[in-house]
């Protein structure tokens, strides 16, 4: 163990230089051909399979697994990608343990589901590694559509629109496309530049132009887009991070977990990303776990994830919780931050334990902290948006907003569950609905 791990404060290079590559390698190494055949053979090819029902994009899972089992992984990939154009990323980041694999009858039978996620990755990687894009554009419709946000919802929408023959211009605030796939997901879930490779592959359909550095309300306005384009799809992210509501939270060293994750993902050398000796992450979702685990992987000596409710209420799946625990992250539950202490920079953070009704117990906990990452949810920001439902854009089942020619999907739209796969489904379905409306087939 490098002595640097014991140094207090926030500093880069806590680990020996050679250690980082292994630390941030693939969480689930790819199945090789034989492993894929063995895993595929476990599928029972269920009738009206529960895994399909559990998949937000309705991928025909038994069919694609049978296609793998019979030696046609590219046909399997096409089955997947027809339903979910980001099937490669979803294979890596989907919480399969609460979706398809939870529904797998072999999970019920023996507690060991078919490795659906890894098989999906096997098939999509097999196709994409050859640079094959199996879809082509339909006859040109002459319609031009603006998509705002180059994340999973926006790109899925753009791809489906391009397939249907429309011309699409995607506007995104960031310098790279991909949205949270590029900026918001733990590095070990999508190593080797997969997010960009997938976008490059997706764009091979043609008919999609991406304009960067254009955030909604800052560079582009919804009214302006409506005036120029035949329709608009809003697939924007949640830019605002909720505040802790704790005294002293403006001290140095207190930051947003999403920014930490983005910094890590964009770093050319992760060893140069500074990390504290004592790190506290506040929150109970995937972002909290991604931040906590990666803090540990960067060499933080003590990482504590603090959640205000019990583990059963955490949005992070049991698999994610166990992953965090296995990396040495301590999980503290039933505690809310009340004060951040320190002279300029955080030195310590104080929590109060709460009961299941979120009532304070008077009992407190103090944790040493060089860094505090907030992962307690993000909010939609922006002006001139369609009517909201709560804090998100109100949409119907087809993604239609209160504005006639504007659709929305993904994290910014109401009703979703903040999953990549759901965003893809919403973008895809909105595209189909836009097509129906624009082509006058809207019954």
């Amino acid at each position: 163990m490098s002595s640097d791990v014991f140094q207090p404060g926030v500093m880069p290079g806590r680990l020996p230089a050679a250690a980082y590559e292994a630390q941030f390698s693939d969480l689930h190494p790819a199945l090789d051909g034989h492993e894929a055949l063995v895993a595929a053979d476990r599928c029972y090819f269920c009738h009206d399979a529960p895994c399909i029902t559990a998949c937000p994009t309705d991928i025909d899972i038994p069919l694609f697994i049978r296609q793998i089992a019979t030696g046609t992984p590219d046909a399997a990939a096409k089955t997947i990608l027809t339903q979910n154009i980001m099937g490669g990323m979803c294979a890596r980041v989907c919480p399969t343990e609460t979706l398809c694999e939870e529904a797998c009858v072999r999970e019920a039978a023996e507690g060991k589901p078919v490795l659906i996620g890894q098989l999906q990755r096997y098939a999509t990687d097999h196709l994409q590694a050859q640079g094959i894009h199996p879809f082509s554009r339909g006859a040109t419709t002459g319609k031009r559509i603006a998509v705002v946000g180059a994340g999973p919802a926006g790109l899925a929408c753009a791809h489906r629109l391009a397939m249907l023959g429309h011309d699409v211009v995607v506007h995104d605030a960031r310098p790279k496309p991909g949205g949270l796939n590029e900026y918001g997901i733990a590095a070990y879930k999508t190593p080797d530049g997969f997010a960009q490779a997938e976008v490059d592959w997706l764009l091979k359909i043609g008919g999609i132009e991406i304009k960067h550095g254009l955030a909604l309300g800052d560079g582009v306005k919804l009214d302006g887009l409506r005036a120029v384009y035949d329709a608009v799809f809003l697939g924007i992210g949640l830019a605002g991070v909720n505040a802790l509501g704790a005294e002293g939270e403006d001290k140095d060293g207190v930051s947003d977990a999403v920014d930490f994750i983005a910094e890590l993902r964009q770093a050319s050398d992760v060893a140069q990303v500074p990390i504290g000796r004592d790190v506290v992450v506040i929150g109970g979702g995937m972002t909290a776990v991604d931040a906590a685990v990666q803090a540990k992987l960067l060499g933080a000596l003590n990482v504590t994830l603090v959640y205000r409710r019990g583990r059963d209420r955490m949005n992070a799946s049991v698999f994610e919780q166990d992953l965090a625990a296995s990396k040495g992250v301590r999980i503290v539950t039933h505690a809310v931050p009340v004060a951040v202490h320190g002279n300029g920079a955080v030195r310590e953070i104080e929590f109060e334990y709460v009961d299941d009704a979120m009532q304070g117990t008077g009992q407190t906990l103090k944790l040493a902290a060089d860094q505090v990452f907030k992962a307690i949810g993000q909010t939609l920001e922006g002006e001139g948006l369609p009517v909201l439902d709560g804090r998100k854009i109100k949409v119907d089942a087809n993604g239609r907003t209160s504005v006639d020619d504007v659709w929305a999907g993904g994290d910014c739209a109401s009703g979703g569950d903040d999953l990549t796969v759901t965003a893809v489904a919403e973008g895809r379905d909105a595209a189909e609905d836009m097509h129906r409306v624009l082509m006058g087939d809207d019954g």
Binding site: H34, L37, V38, D41, R42, Y44, F45, C46, H47, D48, A49, P50, V105, R106, A108, A109
Partner: protein, 434 residues
Amino acid sequence: MADLTTDFLGIKSPNPFWLASAPPTDKEYNVRRAFDAGWGGVVWKTLGSEGPPVVNVNGPRYGAIYGADRRLLGLNNIELITDRDLYTNLEEIKRVKADYPDRAMIVSIMVPCEEAAWKAILPLVEDTGADGIELNFGCPHGMSERGMGAAVGQVPEYIEMVTRWCKQYYSKPVIVKLTPNITDITKPAAAARAGGADAVSLINTINSITSVNLDTMSPEPSIDGKGSHGGYCGPAVKPIAMSMVSEIARGEHTRGMEISGIGGITTWRDAAEFITLGCGNVQVCTAAMTYGFKVVQEMISGLSEWMDEKGHTSIADFKGAAVPNVTDWQYLNLNYVAKAVINQDLCISCGRCFAACEDTSHQAIAMSEDRTFTVIDEECVACNLCVNVCPVEDCITMEAMTPGAVDPRTGKVVQPEYANWTTHPNNPAAKAAE
């Protein structure tokens, strides 16, 4: 531990597991390893006439059919009889038998259908001290094109003739190995009996092409772009072998013959099944070629444990026990009515039973919104397909209806009496066409 010693034609062996005549028994080195591993006997790989030995192909000799995880389910081979010198084999047989006097040593022979050829080789084999001979009338490839192997086994008159020569020129037991590549297995078996054979062994391998290479359009195994049919063996052939064994065990002209069972025997259970169908012992090849000689340890322990559990003290205790229950279709009880029953506690809701029944059978399984699958007794003919496709053992069972109850499918009362095709009032062709 149950007594596994076997007396087959007076040949004693410590257990009923013999290695069949095949590559595993081609050399002294292999056979010593087999005996050291615990095999009760071997049938030495087939010897040919004196003179230059046959030449095998120099490319692949085997093709395979795989199940999950590349589990070998079926193997096919195009290897010929031994390609080693006759005298080398004879010397080795003599040495090994002398060193393992308690093990059965049978020598497989295949020479041309001429009396002189048999008359020449039999004394040489007798001199080795081996316990008996097995006549290879079964190999379906290669040698059969030269009038030997299956070419003989397919002509009952030749079987009888050659068997008679062997009984004339050889003093110890003669086993005739039968080819399954024939319509009625009892014909060659009866011919062997007529020729004086002490036993038959079956089955030899089945004519087969395991696969076609879709790039080269050559059957596999491919020799320079061409393939020839081979002999199929392994777990896949066991049902065919057991049916043929049972035909001989209960055949009018063959019942009572000693049988050495061969065909896909992979576990102790397979062996036990062959023995209940009338076999005095079994011969194994593919299982050994797949897993090595150590598999015999599981066969020995498994058979012994099962015999203890059932109270069998010797192989003879259950030999042929299932033969009386093998019958013709026409004698099956048509008054026996069963219905499928799905155990909801075991059901994992995969719906395979539903797909099979709804798409391909009798629409006798209902599926609810919450994926509960139930049998519709009014439609169920008890075909068993749901049981066969269900991935959970014992989840679906066939339950016999009690006589006196009404079968909801037919509306008829289930009768207690036995009634078969020949007596059922509604069945046409109650009497077979002559």
